[in-house]
């Protein structure tokens, strides 16, 4: 896709004028502009519910002075509006500064002048809408025809291209051109009055090839199969049990119950159980947790596109990079944006992300995972006398100030005397996250390592994320069920 005409309106002459406007009034400013296009296809029971197309432009202008931020949001990219917008943001920053009790400065950085473009084997705009619809219809049909117990199918496809231009007072000027695609499948089944459902999705940064991998082709069948299997699942009994968890469930627990506590904005606001814990032992010695949103990591999963949570630079112009959060059980780093790194006196590590240019960057994760170790799955199960094997999740939540979490698993299997037994549904796990991390007694090897995609919400903003893990075993965890 050609660079958008709208973004071309921002030229060197305008940048000079903006620098002139901000000169000596504020210490830092940045401007994010974006032009987004996309398609979404929403099918239920093999009928289209919504087939839509959009074109959206946004522009967010931030100014900063000694701890105070001002933010002005526009829905156009016109030179005069941008100049007025910057003036407004400056005025608001000075107002915030006059009232804030927390003063700090943002250290000068080297400017970054760069153009980035995600790789697409099949450009989204060259695929006819009719082909995309055919793909969705096909998934709907596969799911609908899978079994007489399938009552409802839902397939949602969305793709988009986002062209952004980032400018800041350090002299950075960064163009980014990212394409992404997400295919989501949900199936409801019903038998003897019992309703069950399953959900799966495939998503990535790249082109239409994302929807054409084996994994994507198999999406609806897998989902229908799972929803049918769950019909015969039993409800579990509660108690304290040993749990073996797969990559989807473990990754989600790591993201929700631990990863958010590593976000330095929550640490500074006393909303994290990890405040003051850098250098402390927070997990069993085998545990190493990383966040790495860099591009080019999907090869390990044999994918022809980039991971959904990946990006070149964050929304404050800082390049994405690998950050060690826990190293062999010891907490090493928090995740930072420009503000939190400035305040804590550490280097920014590229986690300032916003859902769009009309929102302020917060501290967000990218691709968060537990590093694999040396157990194979059979060994983990064999050495479990009495426990539950839990795979995939339905939902979960955490109280950030205490670390108390609960996750509801999608599939669970009883483990008796080292053997995988009958399937169960609606098993929920709960506990305190730091206790749980210390009770990890086995971590699977590379062959058990996998990742999942998601859209994570925080403060009303939704961003693309990934998490990953091998199979792990946690001893002595509270398991709840219905009966």
């Amino acid at each position: 896709m050609e660079t958008s005409e709208d973004l071309k309106k921002i030229d060197e002459d305008l940048i000079t004028q903006l620098n002139q406007i901000a000169k000596e009034k504020v210490e830092y400013w940045d401007i994010r502009t974006e032009v987004n296009n996309g398609t979404s296809l929403d099918f239920t029971n093999q009928k289209s519910k919504e087939i839509s197309s959009f074109e959206i432009i946004n522009c967010g202008i931030r100014a900063f002075k000694n701890g105070g931020w001002g933010f002005s949001v526009l829905r156009n990219i016109e030179r005069e509006s941008i100049k007025t917008g910057l003036q407004k943001a400056i005025k608001l920053a000075r107002l915030s500064e006059s009232l804030t009790k927390i003063n700090f400065n943002i250290p000068q950085r080297e400017p970054l002048i760069e153009k980035f473009k995600s790789k697409s084997k099949k450009n989204l705009d060259r695929i006819d809408i009719a082909d995309k619809i055919k793909l969705v219809k096909n998934h709907e049909k596969i799911a609908g025809d899978y079994s007489k117990y399938v009552k409802n199918t839902h397939t949602f496809y969305m793709d988009g291209n986002s062209q952004t231009l980032f400018l800041n007072s350090f002299g950075s000027k960064i163009y980014q051109d990212l394409s992404f695609l997400r295919l989501f499948c949900m199936v409801y089944t019903n038998k003897n009055g019992i309703t069950q459902s399953s959900v799966n999705s495939v998503a990535g940064v790249g082109g239409y090839e994302i929807a054409e991998t084996d994994k994507a082709n198999n999406l609806s069948k897998k989902t229908a199969k799972e929803a049918v299997e769950l019909l015969d699942a039993k409800s579990p009994v509660g108690g304290k049990l040993t749990v073996v968890a797969d990559s989807k469930l473990t990754g989600t627990i790591i993201h929700e119950a631990f990863g958010h506590a590593c976000e330095a904005d929550l640490v500074l606001n006393n909303e994290s159980i990890l405040k003051g814990m850098i250098g402390n032992n927070v997990a069993s010695e085998q545990v190493t947790i990383i966040d790495n949103p860099s591009m080019g990591q999907a090869k390990q999963f044999n994918l022809p596109y980039d991971l959904f949570g990946s990006y070149f630079v964050d929304d404050e112009g800082i390049p994405s990079q690998k950050t060690i959060i826990i190293e062999s059980g010891i907490l090493r780093n928090y995740l930072h944006n420009l503000e939190t790194s400035s305040r804590m006196g550490v280097p920014a590590n590229g986690h300032g992300r916003a859902s769009s240019s009309s929102e302020r960057p917060q501290v967000r994760m990218g691709f968060t995972y537990i590093e694999p170790r040396d157990w194979n799955l059979e060994e983990i199960i064999e050495e479990t006398k009495d426990g539950i094997l839990c795979e995939d999740f339905q939902y979960g939540y955490t109280d950030p100030t205490t670390g108390n979490f609960q996750f509801k698993c999608r599939f669970s299997y009883k483990i008796r005397d080292g053997e995988k037994k009958e399937i169960m549904r609606d098993v929920s796990l709960s506990g305190m996250i730091l206790e749980a991390l210390n009770k990890i007694s086995a971590i699977g090897n590379k062959n058990t390592f996998n990742y999942s995609v998601g859209i994570c919400g925080k403060g009303g903003q939704r961003v693309r994320v990934c998490d990953g893990a091998p199979y792990i075993r946690i001893d002595d965890i509270t398991v709840g069920g219905l009966s």
Partner: protein, 441 residues
């Protein structure tokens, strides 16, 4: 241009223009001041076979809008036929008058005039000995909405809203334990906002949840606070009586219409006409007048107790209930509540708690029931033990499991007192008995 397309049956256009202010606090200090605008337009086109196309943009130039119309028609031509689609609404003669949905002060509000709201929040946190931090915000918005359709419907409304939120974190200096709680108030007019009250409510809740203890498994009465009622009674019922969820048979109330599903104490309505209320509107997001609808009466799930937009109403052969909801111009109309209310009872809260020898009070679970089965099992994030009629220690790692239909039957007392949270209004409710799974083996 659209009229030229002979296959076209009807079309509607939704246009929204919004201006907003937002002041955020973090670490109990003002962090960010923001002003912004949003304006966008969407077009929905439907052909004679019921196929739907949709497009939206916020780039309000003639060339983009023309492209949008063409795209929407292209999308329509690709969509599957839908014989269930009847028609878009026709123009209405009368619209209700609902006062207090627009506050002129908000339209002309300057950011400097709102600072005192967040300063009030900051003050409450600063003056409390246990409070260690607070995040929160003040926000206000003014919007204008135009809806036109090819059935000669053409309506306009303007409305305002404002909100205060507070998330306070406290710490016990001796035990080193922390706790937090979130409160917010949403109003149509500025003069109703009370930031000190919002922060104090958050603070009280956080204190009630400090130094949490594990308990053994037990069975006993459960008091749901208004927040608990919203998550275990109002939200699930709102989702279950949503015409779309219902028609797809994804609701645990399918096959229960006209039946008694709860105790006599369960009375629920969806009322869009309450003056000044956050969920009130003159007309819904398809231009259909809003009204007051009874959903459950003395525990009976009324035959007419579903929420509809024009599509689900047409499919069922009834009138739209005025519950079309878009969120913003980027969505096709789905179905939403107006003000969803559980009617208060005639007993004081104190009396309801007084009779309980051993039970729990549940404020917040973070979990939500399974709407298709009505099953619920969740971790109690905020809840306390009740002993001999008094609220005692907060609960740690404690879960509750119950089916909603069972819960509805077991409602044996409803308080006079109630709270309003945005579009929800809820009293305190007592459940005769439920299974509690404790954190102690």
């Amino acid at each position: 241009m659209q009229k030229d397309n002979s296959k076209l049956k009807c079309t509607d256009i939704y246009f929204e223009k919004t201006n907003y202010i937002n002041i955020e606090i973090e670490e109990n200090s003002i962090k960010n001041s923001e002003t912004g605008e949003d304006n966008g337009l969407s077009i929905r086109v439907i052909n004679k076979k019921g196929s739907l196309g949709f497009a939206y943009s916020n780039k309000l130039e003639k060339i983009t809008l023309e492209k949008m119309c063409k795209t929407a028609i292209k999308m329509m031509n690709m969509a599957t036929p839908d014989p269930d689609f009847k028609d878009l609404p026709y123009s209405f003669k009368n619209y209700p008058i609902v006062n207090g949905l627009y506050d002129k002060k908000i339209k002309y509000l300057e950011i400097e005039d709102c600072i005192h709201y967040v300063e009030d929040l900051i003050k409450v946190c600063k003056e409390d000995k246990m409070a260690i931090s607070q995040s929160g915000n003040f926000a206000s918005g003014y919007s204008k909405i135009f809806i036109f359709n090819s059935n000669d419907l053409s309506v306009f409304r303007k409305e305002t809203s404002c909100l205060i939120s507070s998330n306070i974190i406290i710490k016990d200096k001796v035990s080193k334990e922390t706790s937090s709680s979130y409160e917010r108030q949403i109003e149509r007019s500025l003069n109703k906002l009370n930031a000190i009250n919002v922060a104090n409510l958050a603070l009280e809740d956080a204190k009630r949840n400090l130094n949490r203890k594990k308990i053994k498994n037990m069975k006993g009465p459960v008091i749901l606070t208004p927040k608990g009622v919203i998550s275990l009674i109002l939200r699930p019922i709102a989702a279950a009586v949503n015409g779309e969820t219902f028609q797809y048979k994804r609701s645990f109330l399918v096959d229960k219409r006209g039946e008694k599903i709860g105790s006599d104490n369960l009375n629920i309505e969806d009322n869009g006409l309450i003056p000044g209320a956050a969920g009130s509107q003159i007309f819904d997001d398809e231009g259909v007048p809003c009204k007051n609808k009874k959903i459950l009466e003395n525990g009976n799930f009324l035959k007419e107790g579903l929420l509809h937009n024009s599509y689900t109403a047409g499919k069922e052969g009834v009138e739209s209930t005025g519950n079309a909801s878009r969120g913003s111009y980027i969505s096709v109309p789905s179905i939403g509540i107006t003000n969803f209310i559980m009617n208060p009872g005639d007993i004081n809260l104190k009396e309801i708690i007084r009779d309980i020898k051993k039970g729990i009070i549940l404020n917040y679970t973070g979990d939500s029931p399974n709407i298709s089965t009505g099953d619920f099992s969740g971790l109690i994030l905020h809840g306390n033990l009740i002993k001999d009629g008094e609220i005692k220690e907060p609960l740690n790692e404690t879960m509750i499991g119950i089916n909603l239909l069972d819960l509805f039957q077991k409602i044996d007392a409803v308080s006079k007192e109630y709270r309003v949270y945005g579009a929800f209004q809820a009293p305190w409710v007592r459940i005769k008995s439920a299974n509690i799974i404790g954190g102690v083996n």
